[in-house]
Amino acid sequence: MLALVASASLTVKLVMALLLVASMMSWWFIFIKLFAVKRATQLAQEFEQTFWNGADLQLLFERFSPERSGELERIFEAGFREFMKFKKQPHTDATMMTESARRAMRAAYQREMDSLESHLSFLATVGSVSPYVGLFGTVWGIMNAFRGLANVAQATLSHVAPGIAEALIATAMGLFAAIPAVVAYNRYTADIDRLANRYESFIEEFSNILQRQANQK
């Protein structure tokens, strides 16, 4: 197999190198996303559990540390920080307080979503483009194989077979890069969508709590 790759023409080699890099990158991102989504889901679950078990909001806010927090915790922190800022000021409208806290949480939510969805577009690109790149390498390799065949008086399968085999490796690599990328892309978009729903419902519910607190004042 190594000989097949080594005997390929320069174009096919370049295509193979490109596909190898794309495959490496996509697998790297796949694992990064895997860890990130897993961590986000776990932290969101933990935070929701502590939050709905009636923990003190002030305590939760003070316990917050940026290094060891999840996305949901950061959203809560942004909203509660904004709420506290208004709370310190006298003569503030309750609806304005909740609205600004909600806006802050929205902004935090957007940031978190952005970071969660980063690299997903790369996976989508690899998934859709690398089969074509591989196909290009294959077509090029087969073209060369047949051009070599033109110089042979008696054409046999053994003259074309190595060229086609080496060309087909490019398609195999393209598919190898594409299939996991597509699967991962679909899986992660679904996971992140579910997380987004979770965050949004938390924002709504937390806004309600904040509004109640603002009215109590």
Binding site: A3, W27, E67
Partner: protein, 284 residues
Amino acid sequence: MYAMATPTSGRLPAAVLAVLVHLLFFALLVYSLDWKTHAPEPVMVELWQPQVASYQPPPKVVKQVEKVSKPEPVQPNPDIALADKKRKLAEQAAQLAAQKQAAQKLAQAAQVKAQAQQLLDKKLVEQKITEQKQAQQAKADVQKQQAQKQAALRQLIAQQSQTELKNESARALVGQKNAASASKQAADMSKMQNEYVEKIKAKIRGKIILPDSLQGNPQARFAVSLLPTGEVLQVKLLRGSGQSAYDDAVERAILKASPLPMPPDASLMAQFRELDLKFAKDEK
């Protein structure tokens, strides 16, 4: 500001895992494509090709000899007709010998050609063989030497795979036998050809009824087309004797003599489909 905290946390293990996945895939590919290592075996089979080619030529040689020796039976007769009986006999013997020699030479030349062809085929497989071919062409006059060289060549090839050794030496022997029998066959055939031409002429001569008015020693040449059974299809006067009475008499005799005696050998028979016969009145 904390947004990037999450992705960075798993970056290194993710990279390691990505490399691991690729190594795994690569190992799988190398392992599953292991059949590629068996691919060189068909290349070994190519060694058979030159031997098959070397085995085929002998029939070609025979055919070429037949073709070349076709006009020969015509040559002796006119001279013989002109000569005395003693001289005629002597010349006939000499010419027969000459014919045999010529046939042998032709056979040898044809064999050399055939061998050259074989060697051209082999050249595609091995460069060594081209050198051997040149050497062979230089010393092409002695047939046995060639056969020996061929055998040596084949043995060289055979050394590459011992299992083929027996086959090849057997083939070399067959090739030698063929080469030897080809020259014998050629000689036999020219002999047989002359014999049958004489038989045909004798039969025709027996049917000739000569008119009384003939003068001197008229000679006529006829092209006779025959069916494979020996029946006369067409008689054409190639060169008249100048006395139409003699020409007509001979033509009638040829038609009467049908069916003419044909050689039993199928390959020789092909030479007898078109005959060029010469007749002289005094020739008996």
